[in-house]
């Protein structure tokens, strides 16, 4: 099996789905001749032509709205936000139109909105965001955040095949840093199912996307230096949350850290901690704690970005605190 990167896995997923299903098409800014700023869609224009790889004007509302209309008619649009930060421009259409279409009007809207999210790349405040929290609050949407190349491919395919709108947040820091041997052809990661990235017995780190890798690194250090056995749960899907997987792990380890890259206040970790508190109260030997970014817009300078974002050392320190509680 060939080893491919997280980015190639997404491209392969798109490619295979477009080969498989003529209803699948792509629309976004500069996804054609350019292949997008990160080349995720490179080669797709040549293979599938201008009608199925559509370079749009700079109009996130038009991209999302047009995708919704086409989806109502049975097509399977995949929208690219050039940087996921700009999904904010389509916030009204996504939360009020797309998310509610099935419920209020019985309209099916099978569409995907994908794009590069996340920091650790010196992108500054508008090219580094993690928009999960902005959409967690929206019944009707699904949200997936792959951490591995396998899940990048498996989730983009599952998202395209899903009958409902799916937000697919890929992490630009992982694009070329994460590689994996993957079979060509169908690799499907079911939406709504978390993954135990590392087995452990003493405490659980619940996380997703780029932080999964930092958690794994922290877990190894804790094993080595403290003999503490950390389980790492990669949620993969944030909406709907895999409560069962969280509960199983927390009831086993009795100590839990919820970690994400995004800022703390109003972040997704709050919802997860609340659920743990509701579902595992009697099993908790220590308060569920959160590791998240500091509550500021993400600054540009390396020293500042590194300070604001959670690092491996932070996860280690927080786990030690929990283990010692």
């Amino acid at each position: 099996m060939p080893e491919i990167t997280y980015l190639e896995a997404i491209r392969q997923g798109l490619w295979e789905e477009m080969e498989r299903d003529p209803r699948v098409f792509l629309l976004g800014e500069d996804i054609g001749a350019l292949g997008g700023p990160f080349r995720v869609t490179e080669g797709l224009l040549e293979r599938f032509g201008e009608e199925r790889v559509i370079d749009t004007p700079i109009s996130e509302q038009a991209i999302v709205g047009a995708a919704a209309g086409a989806a109502h008619m049975g097509l399977r649009p995949v929208c690219e936000m050039q940087f996921i930060d700009f999904i904010a421009c389509a916030y009204d259409l996504l939360t009020n139109y797309v998310a509610t279409a099935r419920y209020r009007a019985g309209l099916s809207t099978p569409m995907v909105v994908r794009g590069p999210s996340g920091g650790y790349v010196r992108g500054g405040p508008f090219h580094s965001q993690c928009p999960e929290a902005a959409f967690l609050h929206t019944p009707g949407l699904k949200i997936v955040c792959p951490a591995t190349a396998r899940d990048a491919k498996g989730l983009i395919k599952a998202a395209i095949r899903d009958e409902d709108p799916v937000l697919f947040f890929e992490h630009k820091y992982l694009y070329r840093r994460v590689k994996e041997e993957l079979p060509v052809g169908d690799v499907i990661t079911p939406i709504g199912q978390a993954r135990v990235a590392r087995d452990g017995t003493d405490l659980t780190v619940v996380t997703w996307s780029a932080i999964v890798w930092k958690a794994l690194e922290a877990a190894e250090r804790l094993e080595r230096e403290d003999g503490v056995s950390v389980e790492v749960l990669d949620l993969r899907t944030l909406l709907p949350l895999d409560d069962a997987a969280i509960v199983t792990s927390v009831r086993k380890t009795n100590r839990v850290l919820v970690a994400h890259e995004d800022t703390r206040t109003g972040g997704v970790a709050g919802e997860i901690v609340a659920r743990i508190n509701e579902l595992c109260f009697e099993w908790l030997d220590a308060p569920a704690r959160r590791v998240a970014a500091h509550d500021v817009p993400l600054p540009y300078a390396p020293t500042l970005e590194d300070f604001v974002l959670p690092q491996v050392d932070d996860l280690v320190a927080a786990c030690r605190w929990l283990a010692a509680y």
């Binding site: 098409f25 009608e51 199925r52 559509i54 749009t56 004007p57 109009s59 996130e60 509302q61 038009a62 999302v64 709205g65 047009a66 995708a67 919704a68 209309g69 086409a70 989806a71 109502h72 008619m73 049975g74 097509l75 649009p77 009204d92 259409l93 009020n96 139109y97 509610t100 099935r102 419920y103 209020r104 009007a105 019985g106 309209l107 099916s108 019944p139 009707g140 699904k142 009958e163 409902d164 709907p240």
Partner: protein
């Protein structure tokens, strides 16, 4: 024999039958709204009531220009367009009264409902949003090589939204089969058009999108039909979008509760004299395109149909509370019931 009646030539390649049909749809629109006003006074309409009094011609005439298979997206004042496309008075009454059997099972209000098979896509409240969505529907027609056309209505006010701009621009660049109808009825709620845009006319926006813009008298159902029809034909021929401005007037308030304090005296009366239904009725008779009997028959038919529809739904129940949960996603089937609610029933 009816041939001998004809004094004026038939306009816009319409048949006598069709001219009478246009009258029927306008009449049906107005009478249905009058029934709704009565129901509103009796407290039977759950939410607000929005009238299209004086705008029946622009709604009916424009929708009448579409073929089966074409899809339109209405505004709150396009009841007439919905009816022409096959929405029934019974559905509309049930929607306004939030009945269990309404097309949205009580989830959405007034004419916010849709049936893509019949050719109408219900709007959402956010103005402008339906323009990009309808551009997407037109895109699907083009991609699948179907000779179908999309039509979307925007108000003079909604044209100020970013969604309108992005949607019509996208449709223009892709040369999509989309007709954009601007209903210029003089007001957006209380805001006169001159506070909405500094443009001399709303069709002045068309060149900025590289598409043709045409204006017509929105109170003349035939002119409305003819102008829209040309735009629809252009779209179907693959020549892309047209912006059609239909000039009309909103004689009632934004909604029933609106006292129109902001309207200059005399303005409404002025437009009453240009009532689109009276005008078409007079023309039918004076031009000899219909007999008094035919017209009277249409009017009777309308009232009878409405009596019937009303009788059917007046005593229908509201939806069963628990039906609020299913259908957020194709799967899982239903949103979970909240834990605290299960505590309320003693046996839980």
């Amino acid at each position: 024999m009816s041939a001998s009646l004809s004094t004026a030539p038939l306009p816009a390649r319409l048949t006598r039958q069709q001219l009478l049909e246009l009258y029927y749809w306008m009449r049906l629109t107005r009478s249905l709204e009058e029934r709704l006003v009565a129901l509103h006074r009796q407290g039977k309409v759950v939410g607000g009531l929005f009238r299209s009094l004086g705008q029946e011609a622009d709604a009916v005439g424009s929708a009448y220009a579409l073929e089966a298979g074409d899809i339109l997206s209405p505004l709150i004042r396009n009841l007439g367009s919905m009816l022409v496309k096959g929405a029934t008075p019974l559905e509309v009454l049930r929607q306004y009264m939030a009945r269990a059997q309404s097309p949205t099972a009580g989830r959405e209000l007034n004419i916010h409902f849709n049936d893509l098979a019949r050719g109408f896509l219900g709007q959402v409240s956010a103005l402008g949003a339906m323009v990009p969505v309808m551009a997407g529907i037109a895109l699907s027609f083009k991609m699948t090589r179907q000779p179908r056309v999309g039509l979307v209505y925007v108000g003079d006010g909604a044209m100020s939204t970013g969604a309108f701009h992005e949607g019509i621009n996208f449709a223009a660049v892709r040369r999509l089969p989309l007709v954009v109808i601007c209903e210029n009825n003089g007001y957006a709620y209380s805001t006169p058009t001159r506070l909405q845009t500094a443009a001399a006319t709303l069709v002045d926006k068309a060149p900025g999108y590289g598409i043709p813009g045409v204006r017509a008298d929105g109170n003349d159902v035939v002119a409305t039909y003819q102008t829209t029809r040309e735009a629809v034909d252009r779209a179907r021929a693959g020549e892309g979008p047209t912006l059609v401005e239909l000039v009309t007037y909103r004689r009632k308030g934004h909604a029933e509760h609106d006292d129109q304090r902001y309207v200059p005296p005399g303005e409404i009366a002025e437009w009453e004299r240009r009532d689109p239904i009276d005008h078409h009725r007079r023309r039918l008779l004076e031009s000899g395109w219909a007999t008094a009997a035919e017209v009277a028959d249409v009017e009777a038919r309308v009232e009878a149909e409405l009596d019937q529809a009303l009788a059917r739904c007046l005593d229908e129940p509201f939806p069963d509370p628990a039906t609020a949960l299913p259908g957020v996603y194709a799967d899982p089937p239903a949103a979970p019931i909240e834990w605290y609610r299960t505590l309320r029933t003693p046996d839980a």
